[in-house]
């Protein structure tokens, strides 16, 4: 046979499931200056590492977006963006803490549709330095009653000593998943750790024979206590 054209192998890509990752950031006036600046820096810095991890796991399709709240709430990225195309838009701080409004937007996004009924558990990382100024409770209850709200891996980062830990624990459902960042270094570390939740969800660590399978790598969470102690002992820059 002479000079035949070459036809590609048939079929499509490996079948994958979407993994929705949502940064939910408190942009109230108290986040002004260094807090919001550190958040902007730290989240942007996680992008290459999240991309690397996602590239190595074609079984998951990592989709990221950002929800900000202050006086009102809004999606910074209205539609989920593939991690390959995700660009961090710097947030600025001003206004009050309308967490309830943000939870309402989050609920709409976790409904089926727009969510598919088959997916990996979504990851929601809530960062806040204060307490909600609106009536967040009914919204949170409704969120936790939804199929994807219930199944989501919910992590909270409490920034500084004014953050309302009780509210954040209501959100995460587990006190271990409320991380307290008392200074800049701790905040950067915790944001970095939270970003790895995406790969822990898409490729969870092995379960031991008698240990109950956990949703997240709790060992890593415990390791963060080191970061917490840095926050409490450091003399400079304690929030």
């Amino acid at each position: 046979m002479t000079d035949l054209k070459e036809l590609k192998r048939p079929g499509g890509e490996l079948a994958s499931r979407p993994l929705h990752f949502i940064w939910m950031v408190d942009c109230s006036g108290s986040m002004l200056d260094d807090k919001i600046g550190t958040v902007n820096y730290a989240i942007q810095a996680t992008i290459p590492e999240m991309l690397d991890a996602a590239t190595n796991n074609p079984f998951a399709k990592l989709l990221v977006r950002t929800l900000s709240f202050s006086s009102g709430a809004q999606w910074v990225t209205p539609a989920p963006v593939s991690i390959e195309d995700f660009v961090w838009s710097d947030l600025s701080a001003d206004g009050v803490t309308d967490m309830g409004h943000a939870l309402k937007l989050l609920r709409a996004a976790l409904d089926i549709p727009p969510m598919s009924d088959r997916a990996l558990p979504p990851v929601i990382v809530l960062l806040s330095d204060g307490r909600p100024t609106d009536d967040y409770k009914p919204e949170l209850e409704k969120l936790l009653a939804m199929p994807w709200g219930k199944k989501a891996v919910r992590i909270a980062i409490a920034i500084g000593q004014d953050a309302d830990l009780n509210v954040l624990e209501e959100f995460t459902g587990k006190s271990e998943l409320v991380l307290e960042a008392m200074n800049r270094d701790a905040l950067v570390k915790m944001i970095k750790w939270a970003s790895t939740a995406a790969s822990m969800v898409s490729a969870p660590a092995v379960a031991g024979s008698d240990s109950p399978v956990t949703t997240l790598d709790m060992e890593a969470v415990k390791n963060l206590s080191a970061a917490r102690s840095i926050g409490s002992t450091s003399t400079a820059d304690v929030w």
């Binding site: 046979m1 002479t2 035949l4 054209k5 070459e6 036809l7 590609k8 192998r9 048939p10 079929g11 499509g12 890509e13 490996l14 079948a15 499931r17 590492e49 690397d52 590239t55 190595n56 796991n57 074609p58 079984f59 009924d117 088959r118 997916a119 990996l120 558990p121 199929p147 994807w148 199944k151 969800v201 490729a203 969870p204 660590a205 092995v206 379960a207 031991g208 024979s209 008698d210 240990s211 399978v213 956990t214 949703t215």
Partner: protein, 393 residues
């Protein structure tokens, strides 16, 4: 923030002096740098302090001493220390044109079936040599394997956990979810040569079929793929999607299309090895398919690949082409595509065989085509070759 600064010099145990050129990346255990010595470039993996353990150091010393199983490995060649407690090891740099298996799965690398089969063969051959040295790899998966999409040459990376595990000294890694043997998923075993053989079968199935062998109806019926669901799917309740004795986990059209497209393309002897891997091999670690069996099957597969006139590679000559659906037994048909002497745009097929063909026009009229004569390629016409199915012209 980097552990090492560009321009720093480090001494190797071999006596070589390396200059740090630039950071290439970071992983869970440390960072990777490009380094130079005497005009040659190498890669350096440098551990985070937390992972600079005595155990890790002893492991790598042993790997350097034993030497690489095969050129397919980016093997530790030299140990490097700094003034601090930290250390690292030197290995060859991965050439840029190599693609990851993840690229293959995402269709960002498009090798032919022939190259893909060769890459699969080379990986099996590499692991065979590693196992022959008494070692286990522990984490066969997409992330640490690379291949040349034009030649099928392979590179096996991340060899720093390679060891000879036993009950007293189990491996410190468990492997990668979806690749781990079921007995590891359920916590009854740690990585070994036999769990490597399971992960290897998972890898080969994924490479050849672009699908996971345990993801069928059970997967599509699972809405939330959380750790509990994965424990069952890949561990306690794993069922092969083409298990001849159980139809409960068949691929679902529209969800698992690659499995449905590719499975029938491969010859029976390949499907049989996969079937054994994910039926008896799921439950009986000592009865998994060995490298020798895979090598024989993959070599036979590579040898049998032919190309249909439509351009598609055919993996089984006895089956119709998967693309144009024509039966073409290339080996038995000797022909040449020729242009009409008076009209170069009109093409025909010249019978170069020793037997007479039968040309069947669209209206059904049959005309014999003796050896040396040419039949025009025309709409609706067919040629019956002697003793074969024939092709549509």
């Amino acid at each position: 923030m980097s552990l090492l600064e560009d321009g720093v010099f480090l001494c190797g145990v071999s006596g070589k002096r390396y200059e740090v050129m630039k950071k290439l990346g970071a992983g869970g255990q440390g960072e990777v740098y490009e380094i130079e010595c005497d005009g040659h470039s190498y890669a350096l993996k440098w551990y985070f302090p937390k992972f600079s353990t005595d155990k890790q150091e002893a492991l790598i010393e042993n790997l350097v001493r034993r030497g690489s199983p095969d050129s397919a490995f980016l093997w530790p060649e030299d140990m490097v220390y700094s003034d601090t407690e930290s250390f690292g090891y030197v290995m060859a740099l991965r050439p840029k044109h190599y693609k990851s298996i993840s690229d293959l799965m995402r269709r960002r690398a498009e090798p032919t079936f022939a190259v893909l089969t060769k890459a699969a063969y080379n990986l099996v051959a590499g692991y065979e040599k590693l196992h022959a040295m008494g070692f286990a790899y522990g984490d066969i998966s997409f992330g640490n394997l690379f291949f040349d999409p034009d030649t099928g040459e392979v590179l096996i990376c991340d060899n720093d956990n390679v060891c000879a595990p036993n009950a007293a000294n189990p491996m410190s890694v468990f492997g990668t979810p979806r690749f781990m043997a079921p007995e590891i998923v359920v916590g009854k075993a740690t990585p070994s040569r036999n769990t490597d053989l399971y992960s290897l079968a998972i890898l080969l199935f994924n490479m050849l079929l672009l699908h996971h062998p345990l993801e069928g109806k059970r997967e599509s019926d699972t809405e939330c793929m959380d750790v509990h669901a994965m424990y069952k799917l890949y561990g306690s309740e794993a069922v092969f999607i083409f298990d001849p004795d159980s139809e409960v986990n068949r691929p679902v059209a529209g969800v698992h299309d690659n499995a449905l497209i590719y499975w029938r393309l491969y010859p029976e002897y390949v499907r049989e090895l996969f079937t054994k891997s994910f039926t008896t091999g799921l439950r009986e670690p000592a009865r998994r398919i060995t490298e020798t069996q895979w090598k024989a099957a993959l070599a036979r597969l590579a040898e049998g690949i032919t190309r249909c006139s439509c351009g598609a590679e055919i993996l089984q000559k006895s089956e119709p082409c998967w693309s144009c659906h024509e039966q073409l037994t290339v080996d038995n048909v000797q022909l040449t595509v020729v242009a009409h002497p008076d009209n170069l745009e009109m093409l025909g097929l010249r019978n170069d065989s020793s037997q007479t063909w039968t040309y069947i026009r669209a209206d059904g009229t049959q005309i014999p085509v003796p050896p040396g004569k040419t039949a025009a390629i025309a709409v609706g016409a067919r040629i019956e070759f002697a003793n074969t199915g024939g092709i549509q012209t």
